[in-house]
């Protein structure tokens, strides 16, 4: 590794760490950060293919309210580094690395969020004296702590990363590896089920089966499926509103009869 790749990798990790807490630009999502990692190491293709695989696995990992999910950022940065970087792990091996660092990252994330509380309390002191620029600085300081949360572990991983990393993974028996291959294609379902949990009611499972069925039968580009989905959803809203209006108007009729 040259000096510039080291600087670029740690810089990318720092930016991803900030993006991870902001949840605005989505640079930290595997699709983006693993591709960039590939770009840093001159292996864009590998980065993109690994990013796509990992993206579908973490697609349902979201932080809602005060719950902190396994950390996508550290998982994507470190596993991207191991797959696109000099260790050249396979995609399945990379996913295992990502899962391990997702859990480690979750604890680092909770720890950092507690550290940030101290910065916020310092900001309270600036508020008390009306130091407006102190308040602004505190916010940016907290943000950079979140960048370090990913940059520091990445730097440590780079320091320990050498040719033996690949050897350790290649020592795994081939049966385990082919089992992993099947497993990796299945674990995305866990993330999907988190999202489905958000929307599922007793009555709307038909839409899920309809989605599965139309996709299998039509075999068209995924973006066309998005359009079809939008059309279905809008049509359903229009139809059910129409029906409700009908029902309420027929209710009115009954009321009229009662009046009579």
């Amino acid at each position: 590794m040259t000096g510039s790749t080291i600087v670029l990798t740690i810089g990318l990790a720092f930016i991803a760490g900030m993006a991870g807490i902001l949840d605005e630009w989505q640079v930290y999502q595997p699709l983006v950060v693993c591709s960039l990692m590939g770009l840093v190491f001159g292996d864009l293709q590998t980065g993109i293919m690994f990013g796509a695989t990992l993206q579908m696995i973490v697609i349902g990992w979201m932080n809602i309210g005060s719950a902190v999910s396994p950390d996508i950022t550290l998982a994507a940065v470190i596993s991207g580094l191991f797959v696109a970087g000099p260790s050249q792990l396979t995609i399945e091996q990379g996913v295992i690395v990502a899962l391990v660092f997702g859990v480690i990252g979750q604890y680092l994330n909770i720890g950092t969020r507690k550290q940030v509380l101290k910065v916020v309390h310092r900001a309270d002191q600036y508020v008390a004296v009306g130091d407006i620029s102190g308040v602004g600085r505190s916010h940016l300081k907290a943000l950079s702590l979140q960048g370090l949360r990913v940059a520091v572990p990445t730097a440590i991983a780079m320091a320990f990363m050498n040719n033996s990393t690949k050897e350790v993974f290649d020592a795994i028996p081939p049966q385990v590896n082919s089992g992993l291959k099947v497993g990796v294609s299945l674990i995305a379902l866990v993330g999907f089920s988190i999202i489905i949990n958000m929307f599922a009611t007793r009555h709307n499972w038909g839409w899920l089966f309809l989605g599965v069925g139309t996709t299998i039968l039509l075999r068209v580009n995924f973006m066309i499926m998005v359009l079809i989905g939008l059309i279905f959803a809008i049509a359903w809203v229009v139809i059910s509103n129409h029906q409700e209006a009908k029902e309420s108007s027929s209710d009115d009729d009954f009321d009229d009869l009662d009046d009579l």
Binding site: L31, Q55, L99, S178, I195, I196
Partner: protein, 276 residues
Amino acid sequence: MGYDASKKKQISKKTRFYVFLRSSLEQGSWNFERMHNLGFTYSVIPVIKQLYPDHDHITRALKRHMTFFNTTPIMQSFIAGVIINLEERYASKQITEPQINQIKTAMMGPLASIGDPLWWGITRPVIAACGAALCYSAVPVAGPLFFFIAWNILRVSFRAITQVVGYHEGVKVISIFNTGFLKNLTKGMPVFGMFMMGCIIATFVKITGVVGFTDQITGSGYLGSVLASSISALVALLLLFICLRLLKKRIRPIWIITGILIVSIVIEFGIKIFVM
């Protein structure tokens, strides 16, 4: 000090643009105590600077925005727009101070209950799935580019538009919560979400062994591939229901993932030994 409260104060376009720029850093100081409080304060600092020249008013403004704040980050611009309007009116002595935080608190809950499913449950998964699908096309680099660009165009324009609407409408935006538009949105979102998750399952979960197995019986024509995908999808749906059951029992997703990996390895090991 040149602070004349009787004169109507107005926030300049430039200041509102600065608020918009800062809004993309809103969650930077996320904390377990008051969540986005410092982040919200950070984003409205340009407003405070323009409205209040004296130390006393600045301190009070900072204090009132440092209270608990939490909503879906992208929905925050809507609230920020309304707050700019309210701060303006407070500085012109048209409303009282507590009203500012009352409106803020009243908006954040309902906006989060729409914003979380809309952005995290639908928009991001669907755009990410489109991006991931593009990665397997002839131009793989289109995948990450599409995801990044499409998401940020939607996010940035949503933030910009809602901040402007919030600013111009002020307190009147509360009436938006009662219009048919939101009712239709909450009605349509689960339908679209469930349908898209069905498409995502059928597109991305390929049970490799099954596909090879059916190819031998059916050949690789249209019907053959439909049959192969159907069997694959049935296995996937079965596994999905097991996952949902386990999630309902409050088992952490990471343990379900570990379980699936171990079972796959054990089965594969068993098959290999059996065949040999």
